[in-house]
Subunit: 545 residues, 2 copies
Amino acid sequence: MKIAIAQVNSHVGNFEGNLQRMLAAVETAKGQGADIVCFPELSIVGYPPRDFLEFDDFIRLAEETVEKLAAATNGVAVIVGSPSRNPMIEGKDLYNSAYFLAEGKVQFIQHKTLLPTYDIFDEYRYFEPAHEWNVFEYKGKRIALTICEDLWNVGNENPLYKICPMDEMMAQQPDLMINISASPFAYDHADERLHVMRTNVARYHLPLFYINQVGAQTEVIFDGGSLVLSPKGEILEELPYFEEVIKTYDLNAVMTGGPEVLQPKEKMPLMHDALVMGLRNYFGKLGFKKAILGLSGGIDSAIVAVLAARALGKDNVRVILMPSQFSSDHSVNDARQLAENLGVQFDIIPIQSVYESYEKVLEPHFWARPFNIAEENIQARIRGMLLMAFSNKFGHIVLNTSNKSELAVGYGTLYGDMCGGLSVIGDVYKTEVFELARYMNKDGELIPENIITKPPSAELRPDQKDTDSLPEYDELDPILYQYIEQRKSPEDIVEMGYDSLLVRRVLRLVNINEFKRHQTAPVLRVSSKAFGMGRRMPIVGKYLA
Amino acid sequence: MKIAIAQVNSHVGNFEGNLQRMLAAVETAKGQGADIVCFPELSIVGYPPRDFLEFDDFIRLAEETVEKLAAATNGVAVIVGSPSRNPMIEGKDLYNSAYFLAEGKVQFIQHKTLLPTYDIFDEYRYFEPAHEWNVFEYKGKRIALTICEDLWNVGNENPLYKICPMDEMMAQQPDLMINISASPFAYDHADERLHVMRTNVARYHLPLFYINQVGAQTEVIFDGGSLVLSPKGEILEELPYFEEVIKTYDLNAVMTGGPEVLQPKEKMPLMHDALVMGLRNYFGKLGFKKAILGLSGGIDSAIVAVLAARALGKDNVRVILMPSQFSSDHSVNDARQLAENLGVQFDIIPIQSVYESYEKVLEPHFWARPFNIAEENIQARIRGMLLMAFSNKFGHIVLNTSNKSELAVGYGTLYGDMCGGLSVIGDVYKTEVFELARYMNKDGELIPENIITKPPSAELRPDQKDTDSLPEYDELDPILYQYIEQRKSPEDIVEMGYDSLLVRRVLRLVNINEFKRHQTAPVLRVSSKAFGMGRRMPIVGKYLA
């Protein structure tokens, strides 16, 4: 038997688009001699479909699409993920299901048992867990079909669930395991995934085909990296990250085993490629082509410009330099140099005259009060407004350039530098921004060296430096990481050797700035804990605030 | 036995504040001769605590607070809600628990069984459901203690759950039921609540004490309205809405029964009072006093100004009139009249000079392109920026004045009229805005009649009317309601008699504007489906888009 992995990039709610993509994949797999083609979890509807699942009409369209795909299974079978209706009165109305389609119709359905409900996942919001587990037979092989999390309850020290679906299925003596997934990317997630799949094979001594979603849906990025494991646990294939792939495997060869084939897993290339795909898919799935951003001469906007040019093509990226009276000459020169290196359209719009027009109308009301954050923010907001004016006039999406460190401590201006349709690097700490810039320059100086080496500054008042308001980033970022990704307490972090007052101050800044993050653009998620849908905090909360 | 209902307003994460509030309530109840004082669900930590629950340190503080409250139970017992740790390795780390405290310590704990995971609720994200049900005895009475949703699985035609905790507890022959809740307000929710509680009493023939949270946590509003039911199902007490109350009842009198006492449940007074409390609590819990908003002469900003003056006091509200060249004289006069009627500070800042400064710097880039949405939005954004400048200079929170109809179809300017720290009427349709204005004027003309009767206009270009871009609101709002609150399909809505093209156009507008709503301030929730945490939609979704 020959099994094809179709690592495809579905689009949430785009039933016709998803169907066409799948029909093409089925043809490709047939050309490769496949007997069965496997698509990822919920790939009929795209993952995560979120509250669209509450619309009966959406489910009806999903069912129709499954029927249409089933109609194309002449000479080849298909496994695909889609919701199905729960016929019982009690419980949630839907299951998260894996369909086996052959000879023109639905032959078998297995529902998902373990429903992740943490971080970005809300599956228990929509789905009833499976209470029955069956193996099905095709061309003489008994197949144990599971969905994503269903395989993740083995080998854990702190299991989230009480049931292990594969344990239940083993009673029916399967010959192989197929797992269809929508397992999101995080830069440090790949090794855990390999470990979990190896643990399953070690426990059940069966070959395993693991088919993962690829592509981004708004903030959530799926990396692909689908796997084929021999019954001995050898990883015979790890498909490329961030690419659609259709590839067919001979089950006999998989049973025999062979040498391991693994993708490299270095943090910077992974992060870089994830962000490029995330950016590209956000534009592509919304039907937009052109991006605009403000180039300040700083490192954050620099790396966003590079990512945008790589994701969208340099002809689709426009940058605006908006110096004020506080901008240094080198900032303008550095920004201009970067724009020239990238070959993107750039314009210079000094903002001083607009700033003065605000000063004039506010003077009767602000009279005699000293220059403070109000005036700093006016500058940042003028820049945001100019970018939005271009967006409205020419149809660009504005790219937000805030990094994770700034978002964490609220070092940014709402409706100013925090504006934009997509936060490209809002899940990248400032120290990682520097690493990413170095990585981008590995084959030559794309980002002018001066942008990387000068001290970070918002340039909103004379001689301002980030360190006037914040600790050094190499001190700040590890504290943020412990609090945000690791959910450590202040006491735990102090015990690691950080200054107690500093820790309190940083954690307080994080918590009192929820109101700002609430109004931020969606953040491309590349870590295990990004701001946005995976981190849900009360704005009026008083803890550590 | 005398049982006190302590309908208190907890504050998420404010352990010390919550403890002090509870200790005072215990004293009050003791003064009323109570044997036992009952506080709402999770009232030690505030509801909903959201991802704070993932911090071990947060749970430790909750445990300490329970201990401190237990220490105060000399001569009176306490029932209170707080998380507790799951000692099993499998499953979620926490339970949502009801504690019975007496004689200085924790005597009994019952966990919550039915964990709402829909709309604003994420309980399965954090909690393991109860698998054991016990009744406890106090002063000779056997008490069945349940938490909120635990009582909501009776009398449903489409039950969400398979278990009914009270059915399990009946085997232990309880004498009375106590249910501690955090059941959020919606203007049409009260009757269902009464029905559910009556259904429980009809099934179990026991008296019922239902203790509900009061107060707002960011967008979620709890109305209180705690209940006492006789074993015959008479509602002997429905405590006031939107107020903290501590009141003690004699169980013998409750057993005997008596006449029903119910609060009025008219939509406009409920919505009005909910919004006033929501606004007041948002400021109070964040530690802010002063609000600012732009007064356009339109009805939306008018009713927000009235709500703010009532919630915060007129001396804490400042309004700015920001006319442009497109503003009509009557708008300015109407706004000024309203400010005078309310007695709030007002200033007039014409924006034309600032607008022209933008025109000038953009002219080389926009050359020869016609006036369009770009120029309209510049005006709205100048107003947003001026309000934010006051906020930054003087410490006001900017109030957002967008209504639900505008938010739904994207009729608003990001970073312009969509700015602000709190969306006060973002869950109030435009047709309801008119009703609310009429209600506010019931005792005399507070809002100038002209504001209510003139055709709605954004006044961003000459002679603009909302109906240039949108259908009439009395046609638009019912379509929105069917789609948003009722989750109907376009076909369903057309079948109700609405024009097919119009329905498609409206639903498409709703779906393509998710990106705008993503960046909106938290919306005070007064309906069964508000924009924000209770409605989770993919931005890149293609369904009906």
